[in-house]
């Protein structure tokens, strides 16, 4: 079929746009077949004018769509296999980044007051936005690579046994995902802050227009104990991870949580208890020079580790008892 040069040029452009998206090895063959098809379609219309060519190409559809049908390539970045896991990880990471950046920046403002509030707020928003975009990009990129490099999701067993389906959680035994996720976010933040800048745990006392920091911790003792403190925090992370994975209180989970609670309680008493020496003994005295606090205040400070330890013991006991009660209820159900 003969057609005018303008129409022929359109065909060339169309064919090129299709085959350039296809593997080299198939290009020549598909191009020849596609040209034959267009020619046949034009013959069927009984004309080779520009209008005929346009109508035929319209019927064939967008070059990208036709090429996709030829290649049968994956047309999604992250498929259904990974999508749920991807969303879960993305939520945790974005929440951790947003929260961590907010706290870090807020601490920065306190430590070094900004000259201009609007500029500081602008910078604050920009920094958080940039961090979120980065986090989003990384998580997405990692999952896209996963999607392409693995056959089938490792998160799913090839065979599943209906008998192993967990029972529907009783009311009060389900653990909403937000709870352990928030726990993980806080714990990671604590881990970062304690390791990177323990001096930030201070009282901030305005003095001659700047802030004097009186550390809560005796930093010498603190640094000596830091590896063990990190272990203690990681025990907390393991607890949250277990809760996230289980999704509901079961007896095994409750027993595991209780065992971990005992471990972390013992470690807490050793590391932060009244006998630990990690608290800055001069704290009240150093503040006192400024605020002229009484002797009673200093005595109160010496009581602080005891009170704190008491609260932590109480918290751990309540958490353990609650977990066991809920786990037992699940068992009974």
């Amino acid at each position: 079929m003969s057609h005018d040069t303008q129409a022929g040029d359109l065909i060339n452009r169309y064919v090129y746009q299709v085959v350039r998206r296809l593997p080299q090895s198939q290009r020549a063959d598909i191009e020849a077949e596609l040209r034959g098809l267009i020619d046949d379609m034009l013959s069927a219309r009984g004309g080779g004018s520009r209008e005929d060519v346009i109508a035929v190409l319209r019927e064939l559809g967008r070059p990208s769509e036709l090429a996709a049908r030829y290649s049968g390539a994956r047309r999604s970045l992250i498929g259904p296999e990974y999508y749920d896991t991807y969303l879960l990880v993305l939520r945790i990471v974005l929440a951790a980044v947003a929260f961590g950046m907010t706290v870090a920046q807020a601490i920065g403002f306190v430590a070094d007051a900004p000259a201009s509030i609007p500029a500081a707020v602008g910078g604050f928003i920009a920094a958080i936005f940039a961090a979120l975009v980065q986090a989003f990009a990384w998580v997405t990129a990692i999952f896209a690579v996963f999607e392409r490099c693995t056959k089938g999701s490792p998160f799913k067993d090839s065979e599943w046994d209906p008998k192993e389906l967990p029972p529907v959680p009783e009311k009060n035994t389900a653990i909403p995902r937000s709870e352990p996720i928030a726990g993980i976010v806080f714990t990671v933040l604590l881990l970062v802050l304690l390791n990177a800048a323990p001096q930030l745990f201070s009282a901030y006392i305005p003095e001659n227009g700047s802030l004097r920091m009186v550390p809560v911790f005796d930093l010498d003792v603190f640094y000596r104990q830091l590896p063990l403190i990190d272990v203690l925090i990681c025990v907390g992370l393991v607890k949250e991870a277990l809760k996230l994975a289980a999704g509901r209180y079961t007896l095994p989970l409750s027993l595991a949580l209780t065992a971990l609670n005992i471990v972390s309680l013992v470690m807490f008493i050793l590391l932060f208890g009244p006998a630990s020496g990690v608290w800055n003994p001069e704290f009240m005295a150093q503040i006192g020079t400024e605020w002229s606090l009484s002797e009673t205040a200093a005595q109160l400070w010496s009581l602080a580790p005891i009170v704190l330890t008491g609260l932590v013991i109480l918290g751990h006991v309540i958490e353990s008892v609650q977990a066991i009660l809920r786990g037992a209820r699940h068992r009974a159900a």
């Binding site: 077949e33 034959g36 379609m41 069927a44 559809g61 769509e65 036709l66 049908r69 030829y70």
Partner: protein, 118 residues
Amino acid sequence: MTEDVQGVLASLQQELRRGAIVLCVLSLLNRPRYGYALVEYLEKSGMPVEPGTLYPLLRRLEKQGLLTSEWETSGPKPRKYYVMSEAGREVYRLLTSDWADMQAAINDLIREGKNHEP
């Protein structure tokens, strides 16, 4: 019929046809034919298939080993002819028997539904 329902209907019709197209194409390829001849034949038979769907489908069936192809260059235009392979004939035979069973079963269900019409 509202526009929403029309859209649902269109996508259901498309789904219903999609699997059947392979059967139609295979049934025509017990002898060699080229792509556009299939397009015209299917249209005439009341099973119209877009060329943009059919051509990639032919290549896929070839890749799956159900069809073989050959360029015919002796005619006025060079054309690629497809025909069923041995494996294609076997698959076709099984698919047609499935189709017959399915058709009988569906017809029974529809008849039963008519008998129980309120």
